[in-house]
């Protein structure tokens, strides 16, 4: 790696203030610090002399790594659902993977190019280092949208989210709302026809010219979509080929849905990686599951034909739709979640409750996880405020007790 290092050191002056390529300083700096650990050392006085090896780059990469099981499964499942839709009985592994890969590749590329492009420009303007937050956002966004989302919509949504949900607040670490979910919500409210219904979750055409084509009139909704539009008690869920699906299909993930969200097994793998690495808070995940189960149980106990989703058991509520994915990868975003220990329990619990609440009692939104996380993002500072107040009150009480004694 010596020659590479020498090359970087040689071209560095061009990117410094006054250099020919100064306009690309942020890009150069981002690449340099990505390739070589910065040699900047601790200040001589007034601070620690050694630092932990963990940094923000590794943190973000760990999240991307934790997303990989879901990502690869999403590739397979996209192909699998498409093959089902085309009515082909034979399901060869590699063509399915290739089809899914070709379906997701342009979306990941667009998401990263648009998002990182904006990040590079902002870093250059603010004369700061490039922050790694978008590494995660960039892969999350394609994983939580329907496979048939047009690329231009994705580009608009990512640009909107990065600028208005992150950069206007000051960048990574300052945003109030989860950036990936803002992109999702933007699409959901700006282009509702492309974000829900029975024509978007299963790919019907070829991907970059590859793969079979489904029949023109083909349609299939996600399980939660089917529930929301069903009437009465005879709830039967069907997969992409019209056959019945049950909880096991939802658990393994071979059901229609957004790219990365379907497989609970893969999500659990990701949750394991994140919690063992100490990056996601197990408190949030645990309490969100508890909240979802409790609300699911209540809804199921008072099941009524008016709200068909109430016929789902509490367990079903956890494994269908985006609940598990949102809880593990969205709710645990440390920047937008509650930051105090007690606050995390409350925050997670309410996400679980509200996700199921929206899902069950609002037929307009078959999936409530996204809105639940965004809503709690808004309330997280309030929850933390209350927890911090209790610490402050304890201190003030001590002070008054002391003054009364004297």
């Amino acid at each position: 790696m010596k020659p590479l290092k020498r090359f970087i050191d040689r071209v560095r002056p061009n990117f410094e203030e006054g250099g020919k390529l100064h306009a690309f300083h942020s890009v150069f700096d981002g690449l340099d610090t990505f390739l070589f650990t910065p040699s900047a050392t601790a200040k001589p006085a007034g601070g620690v002399q050694i630092h932990d090896s963990m940094d923000s780059k590794r943190t973000m990469i760990m999240v991307v790594l934790a997303l990989m099981p879901c990502f690869f499964f999403g590739m397979y499942n996209t192909g699998y659902q498409h093959w089902l839709a085309c009515g082909i009985a034979d399901k060869p592994f590699w063509p399915l993977m290739l089809y899914g890969f070709l379906a997701i590749l342009p979306k990941v590329a667009v998401s990263y190019i648009v998002g990182l492009g904006i990040e590079f420009i902002m870093a250059q303007i603010k004369k700061e280092e490039i922050q790694e937050g978008f590494l995660v956002t960039g892969i999350l966004v394609p994983m939580i949208i329907p496979v048939e989302t047009p690329l231009w919509m994705l580009a608009v949504a990512v640009a909107f989210a990065v600028i208005f949900a992150k950069e206007v607040f000051g960048g990574t670490g300052y945003n109030v709302f989860n950036v990936a979910l803002i992109a999702r919500a933007f699409l959901f409210f700006a282009y509702p026809a492309k974000m829900s219904g029975d024509h978007v979750f299963v790919a019907t055409g070829t991907q970059l010219g590859y793969g079979p084509v489904a029949a023109d009139a083909y349609s299939c909704a996600t399980p939660l979509g089917q529930i929301a539009t069903s009437s009465g008690q005879g709830l039967s869920l069907t997969g992409a080929d019209g056959s019945a699906i049950g909880w096991w299909d939802a658990f393994t993930g071979l059901i229609p849905g957004s790219f990365g969200e379907t497989s609970v097994i893969c999500i659990l793998l990701g949750a394991g990686i994140l919690t063992l690495a100490g990056i996601a808070s197990w408190r949030i995940i645990l309490s969100a599951v508890a909240g979802g189960l409790l609300m699911g149980w209540i809804a199921n106990a008072c099941a009524t034909p008016t709200y068909p989703a109430s016929y789902l058991t509490a367990w079903d509520q956890l494994i269908y739709g985006g609940f598990a994915f949102a809880v593990v990868f969205m709710a645990t975003d440390p920047v937008t979640a509650a930051r105090t220990t007690t606050g995390k329990y409350i925050y997670g619990f309410l996400i679980g409750v509200i996700a199921v609440l929206i899902r069950t009692y609002n037929n307009g939104y078959p999936e409530g996880a996204m809105l639940a996380v965004l809503l709690m993002n808004a309330f997280a500072p309030l929850i933390d405020w209350c927890v911090v107040q209790s610490n402050i009150r304890r201190r003030m009480k001590r002070l008054t007790a002391k003054t009364q004694q004297q």
Partner: protein, 440 residues
């Protein structure tokens, strides 16, 4: 009284002491007193170049409290009063005599006057603000620590052997300066028994268990308007010496530690000794840059080889500097030699000693991970929120969140572990200075 803490971390660093026997006795060619080591003190010189001084004789006085002195650790000749920008006194350099003589303190003064005149008060700290105690504020309690839990530090008991009488004399004397108690915190290795005049506090747990802040937080936190003093047991023994026979004892035991030291050992020298006398000839042969730290790796200061031993440290740590290392994609490394609190590094699970260098190992970011600081602060302080209040210069917030209870050193471990590489101790120091300026 017993205190057991769970939060905290003992860093496993290479270059630990293997035994605490004194390996060498050195008298350096020059000794310095550095005003920056006495925060809150506005120094005025009491001596000029060429003056002869005795050990314990004042070198500096405070501008506001003129009786408050900083004294010379040795007898000798003042070689220079070094001034920096805007005539700030950077250090007073003394050339020690071959034969050491001490000034004799006048013990017929009030306790506080004696502490001020003998330079002993300057060797303590007060909370709030973590500064040299104000002589006109009577302390609610006095907290003495007899444990040094910092990374690679020598056990403080090594410096206290045979000084039980002095500790008791010091404790009894300090008890007369406060309306409250004198607490003495000791670890399991304490062998001197109960110290008369002090309330014994037995503490257990990882670093920062030896910090006065932890002790205060678990016994009686500092409320707004209260003042407490903190000092270590070595200073207490010096106070004992002053009140017993009026002499000043400037000698000190220094632990020379760190991965770049050939054979970590204990060296007897004097306070403020030039580092070259301590490290000279005792480092490994290295073709990379090294960092000589006066103090420990968490709170010490990096010095040149011709720098000086800073107060209040009894330790010199030498580690690799690291500015000459090219590490390819260090953030992706799975090398077992990388030290981290994160489970994503294999080294975390190995029971081995690490040799970290002084690099930041990442870029500075905004606070991203939550709850990270609290793991290393065994105090009822919401670190993140206090830091945010400090950064925002929100005085009411700082007071409510307990800034009067903390010192920068309480945030040292959190600063080490921080993935965002924020300068937490500097933030707290600036916050304390700001608050003091605004409220006094």
């Amino acid at each position: 009284m017993n205190i057991k803490i769970k939060k905290g971390l003992d860093l496993r660093l290479a270059g630990a002491l293997t035994d605490t026997a004194i390996a060498a006795r050195v008298m350096p060619d020059s000794v310095a007193v550095i005003p920056d080591d006495f925060p809150g003190l506005a120094p005025k010189p009491e001596v000029k170049e060429g003056d002869k001084v005795l050990a314990g004789q004042p070198l500096l006085r405070d501008k506001t409290y003129e009786t408050l002195k900083v004294v010379s650790p040795v007898s000798g000749t003042v070689r220079a009063v070094v001034r920096g920008e805007r005539r700030k006194i950077e250090r007073v350099v003394i050339e020690p005599d071959a034969e050491q003589k001490s000034a004799t303190a006048d013990s017929a003064q009030s306790a506080i006057d004696l502490l001020c005149a003998s330079g002993m008060l300057a060797m303590m700290r007060q909370r709030p603000y973590d500064i040299v105690p104000r002589p006109d504020r009577q302390p609610r309690d006095i907290f003495v620590t007899a444990i040094d839990s910092a990374p690679l530090a020598a056990p403080m008991t090594a410096s206290l052997a045979g000084k039980k009488d002095l500790l008791e004399a010091g404790a009894r004397f300090l008890a007369s300066a406060t309306t409250g108690k004198v607490y003495l915190s000791v670890a399991d290795d304490w062998s001197l028994g109960d110290i008369d005049g002090a309330e014994m506090v037995h503490v257990q747990g990882p670093h920062p268990v030896g910090n006065a802040g932890v002790q205060i937080a678990n016994i009686a936190p500092v409320n707004k308007g209260e003042t407490v003093w903190t000092l270590d047991a070595v200073t207490l023994a010096r106070i004992g010496r002053i009140v017993t026979d009026g002499t000043f004892d400037g000698s000190t035991l220094v632990a020379l530690t760190g991965s770049e030291v050939e054979k970590p050992c204990m060296i007897e020298t004097v306070m403020g000794a030039q580092l070259s006398a301590i490290v000279g000839g005792r480092l490994k042969k290295a073709d990379h840059h090294v960092r000589i730290i006066s103090g420990n790796v968490l709170t010490g200061t990096a010095e040149d080889a011709d720098g000086y031993l800073r107060f209040p440290y009894r330790q010199v740590t030498v580690i690799p500097e690291g500015d000459d290392v090219d590490e390819f994609m260090g953030w992706a490394s799975l090398s077992p030699s990388k030290m981290s609190t994160s489970h994503t590094f294999p080294g975390h699970f190995l029971r081995k000693a690490f040799s970290p260098d002084a690099r930041l190992l990442g870029g500075r970011r905004a606070m991203i991970m939550s709850g990270q600081y609290d793991k290393y602060m065994p105090m009822d302080i919401m670190a993140e929120y206090l830091l945010k209040a400090i950064i925002a210069r929100d005085i009411e917030g700082m007071e409510q969140l307990g800034i009067y209870e903390v010192a920068p050193e309480d945030f040292a471990l959190a600063e080490y572990a921080d993935t965002s590489k924020m300068p937490l101790q500097q933030i707290v120091r600036d916050g304390l200075d700001y608050l003091r300026k605004e409220t006094e």
